[in-house]
């Protein structure tokens, strides 16, 4: 009474070498294609980024004849390069006589859908923020995106108080977004009813960036002015 041993299907050998060879060939082709595309498009991408930034700066500094980018570090200023930290870069606008007409900087904060990116201009003469442009956002059409068109909201940024405290370390008053119709102070932003989240994101982004950069702008104003000559 011998039990029949189960018949096992012959195990097919995995074609190890052809697999490695093929994946190697595919990787080689793909690597070449990606590297070639990167090298070929790099100057065009950088030029597009430069044009986009220049347009945004021009929008918030319409009176500037020339503009120069600087890195505004804790200890001093230096000309901005492509790999400079974006949060420390400021764009100084000069008039024909080489005087500063305003200093533009970037900011960003989380809105309803994604980060809301802004560019604002600081006027050292009035110690205020006198222009703001939303450079990138992905907010809900018809709700969040009203911040782009609402004239009352835009009026918030005609002379928004951004004075520096006595120690010169931060803003004297935090920039805050308040509920629509309750704005009492010059450093407050009147939110748009129906797009409160986006209004607050703009206020937050502006405050964070201004708290960091405006005291440095004031401290190095003379150096920035000399940098334009």
């Amino acid at each position: 009474m011998s039990a029949e041993a189960p018949v096992q299907a012959p195990v097919q050998a995995v074609p190890f070498l052809p697999m490695i060879r093929t994946l190697g060939l595919v990787s080689l082709i793909c690597g070449f294609a990606v590297t070639f595309a990167y090298q070929w498009t790099k100057p065009y991408v950088e030029e597009n980024q430069r044009i986009t930034t220049e347009r945004a700066v021009r929008a918030v500094l319409p009176g500037a004849v020339t503009q120069r980018a600087f890195v505004l570090g804790k200890d001093g200023i230096s000309p901005a390069a492509a790999d400079s930290p974006a949060e420390d870069v400021v764009y100084v606008g000069f008039d024909a006589a080489g005087k500063i007409v305003g200093i533009a900087a970037r900011g960003a904060s989380r809105g309803y859908a994604d980060l809301v990116h802004i560019m604002f201009s600081y006027d050292p003469a009035c110690e205020c923020i006198n222009a703001l442009k939303v450079t990138k956002m992905n907010e809900t059409p018809g709700l969040g995106d009203t911040v782009l068109k609402d004239p009352d909201f835009k009026r918030n940024f005609e002379a928004l108080d951004a004075r520096v405290n006595a120690e010169g370390t931060a803003l004297a008053n935090r920039i805050v977004t308040v509920k629509h119709g309750t704005k009492r102070e010059a450093w407050q932003i009147d939110a748009i009813s129906g797009s409160t989240v986006t209004s607050k994101a703009i206020g937050r982004g502006l405050d964070q960036s201004a708290q960091r950069l405006v005291p440095r702008m004031q401290r190095h104003l003379a150096e920035l002015e000399r940098g334009g000559r």
Partner: protein, 219 residues
């Protein structure tokens, strides 16, 4: 070793089936993520359609060229690497052409990698057919996909913003239907197009049946 099946002859149908009879959006309902997400304007729709078409053609032609040397055990890995590489190329190209379009399309450019139209065509067609057949079929499918996205994008932009390719075409008195720019609007418009196409197909079948009946009775 590889998935080489019977190769079909090159006919007009090789091209046309992807445009109409097997349209990826309206018939096989593939690639729904970009279809619903980026068709809130005609420009975005056409940009996504062209980007996908480029990846579809390039990756499938390469899959077809390499079909006899790619072992079946690693075919999906090889297809994904090929597709991802061409998506990266497209990603750089769109950034070089227009940053506005790049930002409008957002993550959906990178997500072309997992678009089932491309992987589906690679597995079901390119891995079994000649390079010429694959190129023609991919062009047809790409055009079909682009046209479908454009159909959605045009309706959504016109009703949602009163513009077409950012040019105002409806009078200022027109109150835009903002809903059309939201994801829900994508579903509504897609449903509308599917209803229309189904209605046309049913009518065509009914006519064919009537003609058949008339022929039988006439005998």
């Amino acid at each position: 070793m590889s998935l080489v099946n019977k190769e079909e002859p090159l006919t007009l149908d090789t091209f046309v089936r992807g445009v109409w009879r097997e349209n990826p959006v309206f018939v096989t309902l593939l690639g729904m993520c970009p279809t619903l997400a980026v068709t809130n304007s005609a420009t975005n729709a056409i940009s996504m359609g062209l980007a996908t078409t480029f990846v579809l053609i390039c990756s499938n032609v390469l899959v077809s060229m390499l079909r006899k040397v790619i072992p079946k055990e690693v075919r999906i890995a090889a297809y994904i690497v090929l597709i991802a590489s061409f998506v990266t190329v497209v990603d750089y190209a769109i950034q070089a052409i227009s940053l506005e379009v790049y930002e409008a399309l957002g993550a959906f450019i990178q997500l072309i990698v997992v678009n089932c139209i491309i992987l589906g065509r690679a597995e079901a067609y390119a891995s079994r057919q000649t390079v010429v057949n694959t190129a023609v079929n991919s062009i047809g499918t790409g055009i079909g996909f682009t046209l479908a996205l454009l159909c959605l994008g045009v309706v959504r932009e016109v009703l949602g913003a009163g513009t077409l390719f950012s040019v105002r075409i409806l009078p200022d008195q027109f109150q835009p239907w903002v809903l059309m720019l939201l994801p829900a609007g994508g579903f509504f418009v897609l449903a509308g197009w599917l209803l229309l196409i189904d209605f046309m197909n049913v009518r065509k079948e009914r006519r064919a049946l009537e003609q058949q009946g008339a022929t039988v009775h006439g005998q």
